[in-house]
Point group: C2
Chain length 353, copies 2
């Protein structure tokens, strides 16, 4: 399928590198492609960034049949543009599609669409540490229909926007609240895909944690409220003695691409890296014994986000004196080094635009 | 707040009573009202039914921060228009708002909006058994923003459309598939509100049940996969010996207004009506012993939907010989009798437009 390009006649003012915030400013163009049962995915086009016109009965508004992805384009010192493991995002997009009864997209085609859009808005990719072009592919149900069943029509849209660091704190450690009541997802539900629905389920806990002075919520499993799942929009790792642990993919956790990359790096470096069940109790006991060395979140937005403090049922523990630990730092430096082309791409993770 | 009215200049063709399907045809007008932090809910207006223009970064598309309601307007023989317990819908709308960090709406105002819209499109209310005007209020996040947090702006929209019976089978018994793997909602999640997100979570199980020849899915609790929750878009009742049982509101079940009305009617009639935990095992054992007399679903769309067959892990049981039972029928006749003004409104459930 060819992708037509209609360039904007009224380019927008780009924000200065120091004014970058997350998710507020979007580039000049967007990609859009439609699905209907007779034509399949068709009419792929890059057009000026513009509003969508949708019927008020459009199914996604009523039944949240929508999924998304998030990845970034990085500008290297020598002016190249790097994508980080974009095929993994497209694979996960399709896994999300399958779980929500949305027709999948061709992998190569989706990659071409991302690259072409980033290329058209190449000037929008900011330069500067921690900055990048955030890329948001999403697919949503477009059929005008009231009544619960999968839509027959969809739109696949990609928008992009220049971003600075996700957390105001940057690579500084964040404070995380262990959520005792609310549940984000449970096995058999949507937790392992990037469904819009999961984020609706997370809002209230996040707001309440923010009110208590915490940046994000650490989710426990929805069945026993014992085992650790993930953090807000990040997977989570614990360094306990000589072991590095991240919760196994249990069916309710998003299989993060940063998570996967960290596991691969840590194993490559020879660490004892295990994916297994880990309870919040175990983490607190390890802290008690002086064995809890580092805790960090992993995700595209923040890359590595060290956790400096945990609060579980009123028990507050400080990790590594509230400082970024050496392994968190090494992962951050290595991942961003590869992303920005400062380090060699040993694992073949970079896709050039 | 006053509600302005702009009438359409191009009224649409109304479908014949025999052509009515569910959720495909919408009336000439819609209600819309906006929320911003500085103005609160403002600019309430009834306008010709029209597309909404939304930024592709509109938060609801990405994070499913949206909720809805469903109720009906019924035309009586003598030409009146009845709403059935609309205040209950508005209370539930606000409960949904609170859970999803959406600003609530004033109850009286929302009721006025519904009535005014139904009044403007009074001619769209079909006449004929089982037909009505379906009313769909919904609220969704409108802020253009990528990043997980509640939106700062919202739209409250109401659309309506003439509908026939929800199930093609009418009041005839449906076949229900007891879902062993997928989970719709779990305590601590969104199951007890009418969040769009819940319906996304239900699609795949429903499609698979349809493929097996079943109309809907019966959900079990997400923790032990033992206890009965609800059916698709209905609550569910079991008549076992002299007891009538419906699952208690456990935190993951929608508190249906038809459910509530049935409980009230059944108690009024002197039945031993209990809200309690009930396992699928208990239902099958009751059937084994010849005690399972009737099973039925309750919901605005279908009112009462008798269940003629259940399939649980390959074990198929037929209930009441696959026929509508006497209590199901009595509830259906009474509820629709009240709704269509054929029976006196003993409980004060009717609100006239
Ligand atoms: C719920 C959730 N978990 C984990 C992640 C991290 O995934 P990734 O590393 O692919 O960005 C994200 C964000 O993308 C997320 O939304
Ligand atoms: C999940 C779910 N359960 C139950 C119901 C029944 O609720 P009510 O009787 O208020 O229509 C509905 C539909 O409204 C529903 O969507």
């Amino acid at each position: 399928m060819t992708i037509s390009v209609e360039r904007t006649k009224t380019p927008k003012q780009k924000p200065g590198t120091d004014q970058l915030v997350f998710g507020k400013v979007f580039s000049d163009h967007m990609f859009i492609c439609d699905y209907s049962p007779d034509k399949g995915w068709h009419n792929a086009r890059i057009v000026p960034y513009q509003n969508l016109s949708i019927d008020p009965s459009t199914m996604t508004l009523h039944y949240a049949q929508s999924i998304f992805e998030g990845l970034k384009a990085y500008k290297t010192k020598d002016g190249h543009v790097n994508l980080f493991r974009p095929r993994e995002n497209i694979k996960r997009l399709n896994a999300s599609c399958r779980r929500l009864c949305i027709p999948t997209v061709d992998e190569e085609f989706a990659l071409t669409a991302i690259k072409k859009l980033v290329d058209v808005d190449r000037d929008w990719i900011p330069e500067g540490d921690g900055t990048s072009l955030y890329i948001r592919p999403f697919i949503f149900a477009t059929e005008p229909h009231i009544g619960v069943r999968p839509s027959t029509t969809y739109s696949f849209v990609i928008i992009t926007g220049p971003v600075g660091a996700y957390y105001k704190e940057g690579i500084n450690p964040v404070k995380i609240y262990v959520e005792p009541n609310y549940v984000r997802a449970v096995r058999g539900g949507l937790g392992e895909i990037k469904a819009s629905a999961n984020y609706a389920a997370s809002l209230k806990a996040q707001v309440e944690a923010n009110e208590k002075g915490y940046t994000q919520v650490l989710w426990l499993d929805g069945v026993e409220k014992k085992y650790i799942e993930e953090v807000g929009t990040m997977n989570v790792f614990f360094i306990i003695g000589d072991e590095i642990v991240t919760p196994e993919l249990s069916g309710s956790i998003l299989p993060g691409i940063t998570r996967k990359s960290c596991i691969e790096l840590l194993r490559h470096w020879g660490y004892n890296m295990n994916e297994r069940r880990i309870s919040i109790q175990e983490v607190y006991e390890a802290h008690e014994k002086g064995l809890l060395k580092e805790v960090f979140g992993t995700g595209t937005a923040a890359v590595i986000s060290p956790v400096g403090e945990l609060c579980w049922n009123g028990n507050v523990i400080t990790i590594n004196n509230g400082k970024t630990g050496p392994i968190s730092q090494r992962l951050y430096d290595t991942l961003t080094g590869i992303q920005y082309g400062k380090l060699p791409d040993e694992f073949g993770w970079i896709e050039k635009v």
